[in-house]
Symmetry: C2
Subunit: 433 residues, 2 copies
């Protein structure tokens, strides 16, 4: 059976979508790697009765451990510690030594910043962050808030609740100490390795993979397969016990055979990883010129540590002047076929190569909306990827040009994200052949 | 008391964080605008027993309506409709007319794309998407999957379950029909207006606002105030019934008085909106030169419809050559003080103004990691914003330069996002004075 945990993410700002939750998924993945399965992530606002009901739901569902994130701050809406104390039947009292520790941290943080909190306000806030349920273990603060491990009510059997702060950096910094705590280790005594592997397929609808899986159902026992289509990419994620490894290997064979090169990643590597590795192994450099709102290839590449090995930069020409002056598009081209055209995309790709001195140039132009025209409706996008030098055709040494015209549905952000995903795959196709 | 709803987001890909949930928060905000309060968003994997337990938890918590997202696709892990049928005590059967409708949509989508699904596989997938709980209403597909409104078991009182597809575009397109459905309207008969207003404060720690709220507690009755610190910006969101409007007005007065210009938004407008409005009203243009990984100002501005009115573009020079050739940084500057320096940030800002012909230039340079140096550690960032022309000082007409050196904690992405947020506020300070 193994161990199971539930996660409670608190905060009206998360419940109402003003802040995207990063903690629930991060904790889920950490727990999975530790051999613990997750039943639910419950998002709840800053209301004590809703928070209590959420924790009690998870206790009732029989999980072995509950982890909460958020609600440990100094304001009155931060009430997780108090609610958890109540659920676990424990008195809630000030820990003087901890209050002094929090005060020292806050003093250090605010030194010289002129934040203007009065000493009384600061002291009250510090005291609030140092309230501890009786019998709970304290996890040392990473920011200002201490974490807690709160055992089940004395004399009962039930899951301990690990209470962690909301800021992702603090939560992630505190997690190793939480996981290593003897109470947590004891609660997770039943954990068992749960493997997770990912296959990625490009340019295939979910209907097709559904048919493939149905056809081979007999040999896929013991696999928990989930499929997800995102930006035209199909992700097939399988969770399985080590004993089902042969079934998983069979799945990989089936996918390899039926999808051939469309199954571009059989080991879980993302297109971003594959492109980065290919650029490094060829010693090739890349630059972009992108005139489409919503998202950029250069932005996506910048997110990746080590990008400086191959990424020379990007030019984002939103007006016509920089297209002409920085990237060499001619007035003639922009007047005759327009700056949203296949010709413009190729000129942008070439312009990027030349302005940034790279082997690969990426040019994107299109209508991200909200307003299009009859000839050029919202969603029309042209992408061109040019490879030369270290990224030229490896057998002939010739310059390679890949170009696509596409019509994408959705919002400005959807169109941008989809176009960037397609461009990443075109770069992959250029480099991996 | 008003009406309350609960939201269930299904999908192992969401539970494990491979896909960020966009549906829960979107539905929460739509429901709030419709006068419906939200108790929880429950994220659950593609496992029937966990999904059933989550829906039953929400029914048990006494909500008036449940909305689910996801799990309506053609693969075997898509099981929401069947589980909801079970919870609501309803038989589950093929709707032949709906199957034909889904088939027509799938045929149209796959025409000419060579997706390679066999007719049998396609037919099986279509049939799966046309299974309907007895007595449920069907919501017309926006993509391929129909939605459902599934009433409580016959002869009982309980919340109907609205079953919506997972792709955000499909869910959002189907929502108006779901909300307008008579069963949903009847379930939400008790709804009452719930106002939500936001104040934004820059450069103030959460401890200070905690003190302010505690001090004025007596006059803030009837307000549900939540505070959230993000990228050095404090967001104060208040939910209240119309009868508490005077208390909210009192809160605004207190914040205006105690925080003065640090409370830069009393009407909820974001720094992005304020900057866009200020650029338009001054007739000023803006361009950026950004040599910091993790996030970019130009990318953030591109997300905003109508950005072409003021945004001329951005240059992202990751190597030194484009800094020199496109933006005019001298080799002397890069050798003497280095390209991560206050001087380089100002030269980038000036370079952006000149290369992109704008009134405002933004220059950012820094160490986003993972590797820094002794003199220039990870997190060291220089930002410079220069205003001239239409963005010069309005009284003297003089060129204005704002510059900051900061040390930011966290990951590459944290550092980038924080730097971009600070840059947005520097642009605001330049324009709004």
């Amino acid at each position: 059976m193994g161990s199971r945990a539930g996660i409670v993410v608190t905060g009206t700002e998360v419940l109402t979508g003003r802040v995207a939750d990063r903690n629930g998924p991060w904790l889920a993945e950490e727990l999975r790697q530790a051999g613990v399965d997750i039943s639910n992530i419950v998002v709840v606002g800053d209301r004590p009765e809703d928070l209590r009901a959420s924790i009690e739901f998870l206790i009732g569902s029989g999980v072995d451990l509950i982890v909460t994130s958020g609600g440990l701050g100094p304001t009155a809406d931060d009430l997780t510690a108090e609610v958890v104390a109540g659920v676990q039947g424990r008195a809630f009292a000030l820990d003087e030594a901890l209050a002094a520790e929090v005060a020292a941290i806050v003093d250090r943080l605010s030194a010289g910043r002129g934040w203007g909190a009065t000493p009384e306000a600061t002291a009250a806030a510090n005291r609030k962050q140092a309230m501890v349920p009786f019998g709970a273990a304290v996890l040392a603060p990473v920011g200002t808030a201490p974490g807690l491990v709160v055992p089940a009510p004395d004399g009962t059997v039930g899951p301990p609740v690990v209470v962690l702060p909301g800021p992702p950096r603090e939560l992630q910094g505190m997690w190793p100490a939480a996981l290593a705590h003897p109470l947590v280790q004891a609660a997770l005594a039943g954990r068992a390795e749960l493997r997770q592997s990912t296959l990625r397929i490009w340019g295939t609808p979910e209907q097709t993979i559904a048919a493939t899986l149905r056809e081979h159902d007999a040999i896929l026992g013991g696999l928990e397969i989930t499929t997800c289509l995102r930006d035209a990419e199909l992700e097939v994620v399988t969770r399985y016990a080590p004993s089902a490894q042969p079934a998983y290997d069979a799945l990989v064979s089936v996918i390899r055979e039926e999808y051939a090169e469309r199954a571009y990643s059989l080991d879980g590597r993302t297109v971003d990883e594959i492109v980065a590795t290919a650029l490094i192994s060829r010693g090739a450099t890349i630059g972009t010129a992108e005139a489409l709102a919503g998202a950029t290839v250069v932005g996506r590449m910048l997110d990746r540590p080590g990008a400086s090995k191959y990424l020379r930069g990007g030019v984002i020409p939103y007006a016509n002047a920089p297209k002409r002056e920085l990237l060499g598009l001619t007035d003639e081209l922009m007047k005759s076929v327009g700056s949203v055209s296949a010709e413009a995309a190729e000129a942008l790709a070439e312009g990027a190569r030349s302005a940034l001195h790279t082997d690969v140039g990426v040019g994107i132009t299109g209508m991200a909306g909200p307003v299009g025209s009859t000839l050029k409706p919202v969603g029309l996008v042209y992408i061109c990827v040019v490879g030369d030098g270290a990224a030229a055709d490896p057998t002939t040494g010739a310059r390679v040009v890949l170009a696509r015209e596409i019509n994408l549905p959705g919002s400005r952000t959807d169109i941008g994200a989809r176009a960037v995903a397609i461009a990443m795959h075109m770069i992959r196709e250029l480099l991996v052949r």
